[in-house]
């Protein structure tokens, strides 16, 4: 490939930036431009909540210092793209400027879902995804908010609830399903999170849907009405019912789109030299049985960017994600998952082992197939080692072997309670088999470690 081509990346989120960085590592000479209207410098979207709560300043969310981009000759263009002329290979910006490219990467991420609720565009009603959303939320909650309502039970919703709690704003949380995040979490885990939310004084309403957002005379939200007819006075409404690819400016062009920009496993769209990665890309088919066509997770964005960087540098690779993993934090409770643990499974073919600590904040689940081979784990309130489970799941370890080595999988800080011992005992009780229960170490005995 010619080495003075111009690669233009629209979007400076984790996908676009990872792609730019990888490409620069592999190719010294080509020209790279990253475009973003949201912010000049890459920042970690996942950290916006911490800026709101005063844990960090916005600049702390930027993983690279400002000189990094110039040093690595990654040009940053702060602008919004209005349209793309795919034939002339030119971008048209809202400002009226143009930029031509040889290869184009569309990594424009997501935007919050809105389902056409009456009043969804009122003042004081918003989602939370971008830096601008954060600034808007700071403005919207500055004063006069006596109660907030959050609609939609996912990760952004619970983050928003935590943010509002920092401002001491009481929150009513409407969740359409019978359990919090129960399209992802099994029943017990979902209940564990729900309990913890209530411990934080969040008014969690399950099986409750938004019907209408009611305006005051100044086009500001003053209340909402639920489908069950209840009216809740509130001055802020958070819409957090998931996100959708941010590609409106690409609809009705020659680019093939559906929910997202349609791509193959080389991130190639239907137009040559145009690629799409991250939240806004939609694979023709799911990359694996337990994966989705649109992958909207930080880690998948990073992997897309990493892989496309290699592809653009001329390496013969296709997207092959490994063992699934993910993590989140629900208020004070950390959650990790490795492998496949769906919300529901067919108990004929799948065996489930679940352990929960008496305090109700620490839990572990392992799913196994008929032959007792590990399929995946969920862990709450304690930490497990990614490398360990990546290997165990890839190599299809026997469940008893996994549990016997759980002390090695433990990733909690030193001196923490050895939950793995209790888990080993519980597994042995339920499944028998050849399970080795770890002994407490000398240090653990010395400091009276107990679960």
């Amino acid at each position: 490939m010619s080495s003075n081509r111009h690669v233009v990346i629209i979007g400076n989120g984790i996908a676009g930036i990872t792609c730019a960085r990888q490409l620069r590592k592999l190719d010294e000479s080509l020209r790279i431009t990253v475009i973003s209207g949201e912010s000049k410098y890459f920042f970690s979207r996942t950290a916006l909540m911490y800026v709101f709560m005063g844990h960090m300043k916005f600049e702390h969310t930027q993983p690279y210092e400002n000189w990094f981009w110039e040093k690595n000759r990654i040009e940053l263009k702060e602008a919004w793209v209005k349209s793309i002329d795919f034939t002339a290979k030119t971008l048209l910006f809202k400002s009226g400027e143009n930029l031509s490219y040889d290869e184009l990467v569309i990594a424009t991420g997501s935007k919050p879902n809105k389902f056409g609720w009456p009043g969804e565009d009122l003042q004081g009603v918003q989602g939370l995804y971008s830096k601008q959303d954060l600034e808007l939320m700071e403005k919207n909650t500055q004063s006069g908010v006596e109660r907030a309502v959050i609609v939609g039970g996912g990760l952004i919703g619970i983050e928003m609830a935590e943010m509002l709690a920092y401002k001491k704003i009481p929150v009513t949380f409407l969740v359409r399903e019978a359990g919090f995040w129960n399209n992802i979490l099994p029943k017990e885990e979902s209940e564990l999170v729900s309990r913890h939310m209530r411990e934080h004084h969040i008014d969690l309403r399950l099986k409750e849907e938004l019907d209408e957002i009611i305006s005051d005379p100044n086009a500001r939200v003053k209340a909402i009405r639920t489908k069950s007819g209840e009216e809740i006075q509130c001055q802020f409404v958070g819409l957090t019912a998931g996100v959708t690819p941010n590609i409106d400016f690409l609809r009705n062009t020659e680019l093939e789109v559906n929910r997202g920009v349609k791509v193959d496993f080389g991130f190639q769209t239907n137009i040559p030299n145009v690629y799409s990665i991250g939240d806004c890309a939609e694979f023709h088919e799911a990359p694996a049985a337990d994966r989705k066509q649109v992958e909207q997770v930080w880690y998948t964005g990073r992997m897309h960017g990493e892989t496309l960087g290699y592809i653009l540098a001329g390496k013969e690779v296709t997207y092959q994600p490994g063992i699934w993993f993910n993590s989140a934090k629900f208020l004070d409770i950390e959650y990790q998952t490795y492998g496949t643990v769906p919300a529901q499974w067919d108990s004929e073919n799948v065996k489930s082992f679940y352990w929960e600590h008496a305090g109700g904040k620490v839990a572990f689940r392992m799913l196994m197939d008929k032959q007792n081979k590990i399929i995946g784990v969920n862990n709450f309130g304690f930490r497990l080692r990614h490398e360990f489970f990546d290997q165990a799941i890839k190599e299809k370890w026997d469940g008893a072997k996994v549990i016997s080595q759980l002390d090695k999988a433990n990733f909690d800080p030193e001196f923490f309670a050895p939950y793995y011992i209790e888990i080993q005992k519980a597994f042995k009780d339920q499944f028998g088999g050849n399970v080795k229960v770890s002994k407490k170490s000398f240090i653990q005995k010395l400091f009276g470690a107990s679960v």
């Binding site: 996942t46 092959q320 001196f415």
Partner: protein, 514 residues
């Protein structure tokens, strides 16, 4: 905030106010007997003569007393200096003992009362404020509002706190004659512990220890549910109280040399000074034990413990400077500079201090064993330069006074020669590292933001790399604040501990990545 906490702040501020006005209390009347009792034999006659104009006069403040003292004293000295009669010049500073002995004040008459009203109220208030913290909340990360706080984000409260601390250190190191009231206040306590009257250093040690205890209690509240933080905090509280404060005083009570068994050269920079060596050698078995113990810590203790546990065994579990930084300084940890530039400065400065300390000590020892034939008094000049520039200005004024401006580990990061030594072992020959949990990092930046040593932890974590840095004191806060369980302080195999080409797990498309 709860009522009890508001009262606590009130009591703390009253205590602080009483402490602050104390230097302005009482009056000073100097007599010849006091001069004779507080000056060296060779100076007695001269000093008694120089200060004659002051006898019998009552000075209503330390300012007027010390200005009269300086006037008389300097008049004498300047005249000699002008005539270049250097051997007749009196180099000793007698202002502190003379101010102390000539003082008559309510503090001197009622030391325990004032102790209670100042330090006592401040401690009580501090505990009343700290103990109820987070009472009705589940355990978890408690960093809410740090960057919205005037105290913790270089606002006016932080500025005032920093200025107060800097002023306190300047007076303590160079103008102790102004705080003789506070020294009288802690004298009865000193008499109980060591059987000797207090010095300004005893006053400092008392406040220092109490600050670690009160703010250690704050740490227990803040890190509720985090065993590592709790044990580490309990450890620094113990080592400060027992090893740095009580044991040396009790040793003196037992007619043994004053010695802090956990202070290690070159942080303890005067360990090999001639007068120290003389003290060790003239104090029988105990003195000899101290000398050998100190040397063993340097040559065996530091490398061995650091090999197995990293420098944290000292810096965030034992050390007094570390103890203060981790307790009193904890609210300011996020203010450290994380830039690459700061890291470059850090490496140059801290290793320069180490080289300086080693050179100075080597010269001192060589000079000592050559019977001062080698360099004569030159080492003394070197000692006073090091003591002033490094021991006082860097470690004290900047080290602690700058907490609210540059974070709580300025000294430990940029200046401490022992930290540099421990760091070299940690970087090149140790089992310690911070492990990154595969591909779980989301680059949020909590770890870097709250790293007191200014390490950009995220830089490593987001590329799946273990963190091996000479400066890491192993406080474990990066691991505590990580929302995704990515970081763990570990001692493990040295194989592949430093890997410049890490692989982020989870993407099978490519195998090598960095």
């Amino acid at each position: 905030m709860k009522m009890i906490q508001i009262v606590g702040i009130g009591l703390f501020l009253i205590g602080l106010a009483v402490f602050t006005v104390m230097p302005f209390l009482g009056d000073y009347t100097l007599t010849e007997e006091q001069v004779l009792a507080n000056t060296k034999d060779i100076h007695q006659e001269k000093m008694a003569e120089i200060l004659t104009p002051m006898y019998g006069d009552t000075y209503s403040s330390n300012f007027s007393f010390l200005s009269a003292y300086n006037e008389n004293f300097n008049e004498y000295n300047e005249a000699l200096k002008a005539e270049s009669k250097w051997d007749e010049v009196i180099w000793d500073d007698y202002s502190f003992p003379l101010a102390q002995s000539s003082l008559s004040s309510s503090v001197r008459d009622n030391p325990w009362l004032f102790f209670g009203l100042s330090i006592g109220l401040a401690v009580l208030g501090g505990l009343m404020y700290n103990l109820p913290k987070y009472q009705d909340e589940p355990a978890g990360v408690k960093n809410n509002g740090i960057f919205h706080s005037s105290m913790k984000n270089r606002g006016w409260m932080g500025m005032i706190t920093g200025a107060y601390l800097i002023l306190f250190y300047i007076i303590l190191y160079w103008f102790p004659a102004y705080i003789v009231n506070q020294v009288w206040m802690v004298t009865p306590l000193s008499m109980i512990l060591s059987g000797n009257p207090a010095s300004q250093w005893f006053l400092y040690g008392t406040i220092y220890t109490l600050a670690i205890i009160v703010m250690g209690v704050r740490m227990f509240r803040k890190y509720r549910g985090n065993k590592y933080q709790q044990l580490r905090t309990a450890s620094v509280m113990f080592f400060q109280t027992a090893f740095a404060f009580l044991i040396p005083e009790i040793l003196v009570l037992l007619n043994q040399p004053y010695f802090d068994f956990k202070n290690i050269w070159p942080l303890d920079y005067d360990f090999f000074y001639d007068y120290q060596i003389d003290t060790f050698l003239s104090s029988g078995g105990v003195g000899l034990f101290m000398l050998i113990w100190g040397i063993l810590l340097i040559v065996i203790g530091v490398p061995t413990f650091t090999y197995f546990f990293g420098k944290r065994w000292y810096c965030s579990w034992v050390c007094g400077c570390g103890g203060l930084a981790e307790t009193l300084g904890d609210p300011y940890r996020q203010l450290s500079d994380k830039s690459l530039k700061a890291w470059k400065y850090e490496r140059v400065i801290i290793h320069s201090v180490l080289v300086l300390a080693v050179l100075m000590t080597a010269l001192t020892i060589a000079n000592y064993f050559s019977g001062f034939a080698l360099l004569g008094n030159v080492t003394n000049q070197l000692h006073s330069f090091y003591g002033f520039a490094i021991g006082s200005v860097f470690a004290g004024v900047v080290g602690t006074g700058f907490y609210p401006f540059m974070g709580n580990r300025v000294w430990c990061r940029f200046g401490c020669p022992l930290a540099a030594y421990l760091g070299l072992v940690q970087r090149f020959k140790s089992r310690f590292r911070i492990t990154t949990n595969g591909g779980q990092c989301i680059s949020c930046g909590n770890c870097s933001t709250h790293c007191e040593m200014g390490i950009d932890v995220r830089w490593y974590a987001q590329r799946g790399q273990e963190i091996v840095r000479s400066s890491c004191v192993g406080c474990g806060v990066c691991s505590s604040v990580c929302p995704r369980g990515v970081l763990k302080l570990e001692n493990g195999s040295t194989e592949n501990r430093i890997n410049e080409m890490p692989i982020i797990i989870g993407n099978d498309s490519i195998k090598i990545n960095a």
